[in-house]
Symmetry: C2
Subunit: 407 residues, 2 copies
């Protein structure tokens, strides 16, 4: 049911990175649920993690290990988020790293663990990882990105991945990313995991800035249901295998091109998450212009994106602009002059100067709403700031999926 | 489907107030959709109105008329909210007041108009009101509160009303209230209309304070879907017919008893709105204790109440405490120490010190969740502040109702 996307047919390998997957039986038997990513020595790694105050054990461990510097491997399991599991969960996350370290001949602190799935269940996680890891390690190969994109899925209906290759001054570099997540999605990251790798030689500050800017403009601009998970993370890995000079700061000449490629991959992955939002049938880009500052544009955009009344109207293909107008009015801009507000559905203006556009006809609105992609644009008539976010509708299936998830 | 309530069997008349209803055919033929409330001279009236920046025409007119002082009548129509209708809508609201004034022999500025229903449709509202108003005025009588409670319903499945009679120093006073609203409900009022009347002689500051305090502790503590409407209002009318000394300030001796009765009625009505929330199958009181201040308690409570993941879990009777924990962690308390957080479902502790309570058993949680009323209590372990709100679950029917509302 993902809107306008299908699983990737090809993802470019990144020199210096190998991936392996296996079925560890963590929650379901016979399902690929364990992914190992092995990095060649010298790969630079940066990460951003959930801002939820409840952080899953693997998030705490991954962040701590990342702060120490060198990373040799990433381990991702689905089926169990290992969140809200207390000391037992911390022990399981640490033990998982030890198991990987033993298989790959590195130190446990050089392994980053990631878990996604049901929160708060204590399960024999480390034991099952221990039993399955040798098979996973034995299968490591550079061209398994699609396998990995598939193995990290939970309620996702489609694997999400994207590659960009760029020629720069006669050499090529590549960026490949995979992601999972379709519910509990909102800014500040979500139950979302994303792994982006490049052979471009990003290092230090350049690597950090590149990741943060890309996340801010992609994963932090999407929302499915307004919830924020305890487990999400986005990791950027740079192997430096491309024949380029090291990129150490954002001022280095090649930085802009590499950062643009990373951002393009992040945006593709972020939008794919919304297009595969739980129960989603419509993909809705929301643009708010004419704000005094970006914050008020985002307030209006998210107020619309989080309104169940608007989301159900989109599900019903109902151009119920009154609900849009009510959400804008409730967005918390105290001195909003409603007579300066304009709203467009696609190219069709439906609200002019704060009231129904006299030229608007319901049949025209319905024609726009019948599409599976429905851009909304709001102009606040107050300034020059502009922001854009992406969301989806709220359908019967959203309720079904989330009411049944644990059964 | 309203949870644990049925339509009122009896509502006490308030001396000095008469009500009449009729079918004006505003949106549907043959449905009681017009209500007139006539007040005897000398009735004191106070009102609070939506904080949405988009305010429906009748809200603008009602607030303006109320500011002039004397009120002789209230007119309420369903079927059309007369919101987002620009100058034409303003003219219709003004014309409605003129029609009532003519029928009752008062001035148009002494009439408060109220509309609820679909936003943004321009319809021959004033014409239909004009045709039906004489019949409505001819039927005015003191014991028509239940008729009025029924005539103001839109997507409500049950009429909402409540009376309280209090004996005070040998005299009685009565408070009777009616309300409508079942979607687009959240603090700052909603697509909610409430009319509360008393024969107690509240005046001036005492009347204003009584209304504001009652609303703050009732209608501003409920949420169904987090949306705020363009039309909501709560009106308090005091006829002064009870044999009591005038109550002019909150310091007057009888103020406390009268204010408590008004608040009790407001709370009953507010909870009835949630119990009849669109598609609701569970009534969920949320108490947050141990906050540093009331604001952070409310932040946590509303974050839970607005989480679609939590609301669908309640619909499924699934004690998915991981979703509660994730919502608390994302509520925006930056220095929350999660290890001090406790969560109870009813009397059952499910989270102890930030993780699953070791004594908690899923079967016990499911037993609590099987009920139609499920109190949640969260202790933040940071202070002594405490707040309570009321919400409901998110069901298949919510989506159905709001996807189909205009069809």
């Amino acid at each position: 049911m993902a809107i306008g996307i299908s699983a990737p047919q090809h993802l470019d390998p990144i020199s210096g990175i190998r991936l392996g997957t296996t079925a560890a039986g963590i929650r379901y038997a016979g399902r690929q649920d364990l992914t190992l990513i092995a990095l060649e020595a010298g790969t630079a790694v940066a990460g951003v993690f959930t801002r939820n105050r409840f952080r899953a054990a693997p998030v705490i461990v991954a962040e701590r290990h990342l702060a120490r510097g060198t990373v040799q491997a990433l381990l991702i399991n689905t089926g169990n988020a290992n969140a809200g599991t207390g000391a037992e969960g911390m022990a399981a996350a640490e033990e998982s790293c030890r198991i990987v370290a033993e298989a790959l001949g590195c130190r446990p602190e050089e392994v980053l663990p990631f878990s996604t799935g049901v929160i708060g269940e204590v399960a024999p996680l480390a034991e099952r990882i221990g039993a399955a890891l040798p098979a996973c390690a034995a299968r490591l190969r550079p061209d398994a990105w699609i396998d990995a994109a598939t193995a990290i899925m939970t309620t996702d209906t489609v694997a999400k991945g994207c590659s960009v290759r760029v020629a720069l001054d006669g050499v090529h570099f590549t960026v490949t990313g995979i992601a999972k997540g379709s519910g509990m999605i909102r800014p500040d990251m979500a139950t979302m995991l994303a792994y982006i790798a490049t052979d471009a030689p990003l290092q230090g500050l350049a690597l950090e800035r590149c990741l943060h800017d890309a996340v801010e403009r992609s994963f932090n601009r999407i929302t499915v249901d307004g919830d924020t998970s305890t487990n999400d993370a986005c990791i950027l890995m740079a192997t430096g295998k491309a024949a380029m000079d090291p990129i150490r700061t954002p001022q280095d000449p090649a930085y802009g091109r590499v950062a643009a490629a990373v951002e393009a991959v992040a945006l593709q992955l972020a939008q794919a998450i919304v297009r595969d939002g739980e129960g989603a049938t419509k993909f809705i880009p929301i643009t708010v212009t004419g704000g005094r500052d970006p914050q008020e544009c985002l307030k209006v955009a998210y107020r619309m994106a989080h309104s169940p009344l608007i989301k159900t109207a989109f599900f019903a293909s109902d151009p119920n602009w009154g609900r849009l107008l009510a959400a804008i009015g409730a967005a918390g801009i105290d001195d909003l002059n409603v007579e300066k507000v304009q709203i467009w559905l696609g190219e069709l203006r439906i609200v002019r100067d704060g009231a129904r556009d006299p030229d608007y006809r319901e049949t025209a609105g319905q024609a726009v709403m019948a599409a599976t992609e429905i851009p909304i644009r709001v102009d606040l008539g107050r300034g020059t700031a502009e922001e854009r976010i992406w969301t989806c509708d709220l359908s019967h299936d959203y309720v079904r999926i989330n009411a049944d998830y644990r059964s």
